[in-house]
């Protein structure tokens, strides 16, 4: 990353500025919480602005490219949610049948919709969204080989990123809150531990598949009680060394998508497996309209059961996806994640629509029902919220 900055600045300075492409967005967001917070210091309504421009430059017959994608959010109440990150700062070289990437980037692995088990390269930017789909940029060296028998990706991951957590005034947090200053690592190298990963992916006819191995600092922290200097009881994140083997599989059979993700993870205290899988069935052109209606059903199982470090340990996700296929690209995803042992239920509604050529309006509504005190989502029981966002793309 430090090596790339001078390159970036040099090429900007060299008068290549005209050849840079600009993309990305800026957005205004508001969150309204319907219930009294558990802690009086937490806010009830919040506003924030964010910006994520992308500068990219391609040369050498598009074989080489440089991408720079910073991100920043300014939040009215939560100091921890006001943050910035380099999502991407990457040099890419595309050979014939191979590709090298150097710098900070984002890698996505997996096929399922509700829970993303195998996706492990990047750390979650949790303050952005509790769905875990927003990620921090990860420094990496990546080499890909594309062969007849599939694609092999090698990753060297120097530099660990800590998960972000809401601050004292923030909602959607634990009580006590997480204090990142008290972070501890199993490895004496701490944040400088170099992780590695290997992935093979391929497709044969209707089947898309991937096998992966990860070795290094686990992305999901464990928590230990601790005290700040002021004597406040907080949770201190602890990152253990872990290895993870994973498989992801999708069969695309006409209107049916069948999906499976499974991991086997080895940590400090125990080894365990977890899997998620199910289907998405889509009817195209329902009721003689242009719209599609999809039904999604996925199970999530974690071998640790009630001891799992995730709320989604014996849960089922049921959802409906409605795609209008209109000029404004209106889509609605409505669903529920239900724990079939303790009945804890998360209701989730997401919708978005374009205005004009460059504005996207999106809404998220989340509500927790019958949350069992033993369920890890118990911390969200007073946090039902509506989020609206208007983003301007460029």
């Amino acid at each position: 990353m430090h090596a790339l900055l001078p390159v970036l600045l040099l090429s900007l300075a060299a008068g290549n500025a005209l050849a840079w492409r600009l993309a990305g967005n800026m957005a205004m967001e508001s969150r309204v919480f319907f219930q009294q917070p558990l802690d009086a210091s937490q806010y009830g309504a919040d506003y924030s602005v964010s910006m994520e421009p992308e500068f990219s430059h391609q040369w050498d017959d598009d074989r080489q490219s440089l991408v720079f994608r910073p991100f920043a959010r300014l939040d009215r109440h939560d100091d921890e949610r006001s943050h910035w990150d380099i999502r991407e700062l990457q040099w890419v070289y595309a050979g014939d049948g191979w590709e090298a990437r150097l710098g900070v980037g984002r890698i996505y692995w997996g096929v399922t919709e509700a829970v993303h088990l195998v996706d492990i390269i990047n750390q979650t930017d949790l303050v952005e969204n509790i769905d875990g789909e927003q990620k921090l940029g990860q420094p990496m060296v990546k080499l890909s080989l594309e062969e007849d028998w599939g694609t092999l990706d090698f990753f060297l991951l120097p530099g660990f990123r800590e998960r972000t957590f809401p601050g004292e005034e923030g909602r959607l947090r634990s009580h006590s809150r997480v204090e990142q200053d008290l972070v501890e690592y199993e490895s004496s190298a701490g944040q400088r531990h170099v992780d590695y990963a290997l992935r093979w992916s391929h497709y044969i006819g209707e089947w898309d598949m991937g096998l992966a191995w990860f070795q290094g600092t686990g992305r999901d922290p464990l928590f230990r009680p601790g005290f700040t200097r002021k004597g406040e009881l907080v949770l201190a994140p602890f990152y253990e060394q872990t290895s993870q083997a994973s498989v992801d599989l999708q069969a695309t059979l006409g209107e049916w998508l069948w999906k499976l993700e499974a991991i086997y993870r080895n940590g400090l205290e125990e080894d365990y497996y977890a899997f998620t899988g199910g289907f998405e069935y889509t009817r195209i052109g329902i009721l003689d309209t242009a719209a599609d209606l999809g039904v999604i059903a996925e199970l999530v199982m974690d071998e640790r059961g009630d001891q799992a470090a995730t709320a989604f340990n014996h849960d089922v996700f049921l959802g409906l996806r409605w795609t209008a296929n209109d000029a404004q690209s209106l889509t609605v995803l409505a669903g529920a994640v239900v724990d079939w042992e303790n009945g804890s239920t998360l209701l989730n509604l997401e919708a978005s629509r374009r205005f004009g050529q460059a504005y996207l309006f999106s809404v998220q509504l989340r509500s927790w029902l019958h949350i069992d005190p033993e369920d890890l989502q118990y911390i969200f029981r007073q946090d039902d919220y509506l989020q609206v966002e208007l983003a301007r793309y460029f």
Binding site: R21, A23, N25, S56, Q58, D62, S65, V67, V92, A94, D96, G97, E99, R106, I107, Y108, V111, E133, S144, E146, T151, S201, Y203, D208, Q250, T252, G254, E255, W256, L257, T282, I284, G285, A290, D292, N325, D326, A327, Q328, S329, R354, Q357, A358, Y359, L360, A391, Y393, F394
Partner: protein, 259 residues
């Protein structure tokens, strides 16, 4: 190829035209259309779509298209979106097939996620336009059965009117009528009939231009939906043939490199 030769020998006018059924003549026309448009190798172009609803409200799409001809199978294509801005960088990779459903992957740049998608290449609308995925897909001969209807004239040009019936059960149409230019064997007009066999859409090809002294491409394709009053004007710009595209430019990894 052998099949093509046999068909041509059996069917060429003057050999034994009298013995040819309407179905055989329909297939012969389709094979000749396909033969004359074979061998182009690869191309890159800019594609624009102007969507208009019945109230006259307009919406614009801009995308870049790369396509690679594949000898024994359907073509490979890669489409990258530039407009609307919120889908900029979204890319669609299609491996079309002669008979079985096309393979399709969609790249979502916000999540860096490549998603294999269902056989949407059939009746679903493409980007909210009046073009369905199947209208834009590689037009392989095997995707339809045919029946020649009659000779006619369109804007003073002699044409064959050929009817074709989609083979896929996912198609949104019972049949299509194609006006084929008798001299150049290129489509000038297509009428699409929905599953209830009612006239749904009309496609008009305008401003044909010849590339590499051989391959005809229309600058404009105007699709009008008679049932909704909506229309889409598809425009092609900056056609470049023989740009040296290879199979390795059409992989799931290459999708992620598109900007």
């Amino acid at each position: 190829m052998t099949k093509l030769l046999i068909m041509l020998l059996v069917a060429l006018p003057g050999f034994n035209a009298s013995a040819q059924t309407q179905e055989e003549k329909g297939l012969t026309i389709a094979l000749e259309v396909d033969r004359r448009d074979s061998g182009w190798g690869d191309f890159q172009a800019q594609m624009g779509m102007l969507l208009r609803n019945r109230h006259g409200e307009e919406s614009l799409r801009q995308m870049r298209v790369k396509s690679l001809e594949t000898a024994d199978d359907g073509d490979k294509s890669l489409i990258v979106f530039d407009e609307p801005k919120d889908v900029k960088g979204t890319a669609l990779l299609t491996f079309s097939h002669k008979v079985k459903d096309d393979d399709q992957w969609l790249y979502l740049p916000a999540l860096k996620r490549v998603k294999r998608i269902a056989s949407r290449n059939k009746s679903g609308p493409f980007m909210g336009s009046e073009f369905a995925f199947e209208d834009l897909a590689s037009q392989e001969v095997e995707k339809y059965t045919y029946q020649y209807i009659r000779d006619d004239e369109l804007d003073g040009k002699p044409v064959f009117i050929n009817e074709r019936y989609p083979a896929s059960k996912y198609s949104g149409y019972t049949r299509q009528l194609v006006w084929v230019d008798q001299k150049e064997y290129i489509p000038l007009k297509v009428e699409y009939y929905d599953r209830k066999n009612a006239l749904l859409k009309t496609l008009i090809f305008k401003s044909y231009r010849q590339y590499l002294d051989r391959y005809w491409r229309a600058d404009e394709m105007f699709m009008e939906n008679h049932q909704t009053g909506k229309s889409t004007l598809l425009t092609w710009k900056d056609y470049r043939f023989g740009t040296g595209l290879k199979d390795s430019d059409f992989t799931r990894n290459s999708l992620k490199r598109m900007r």
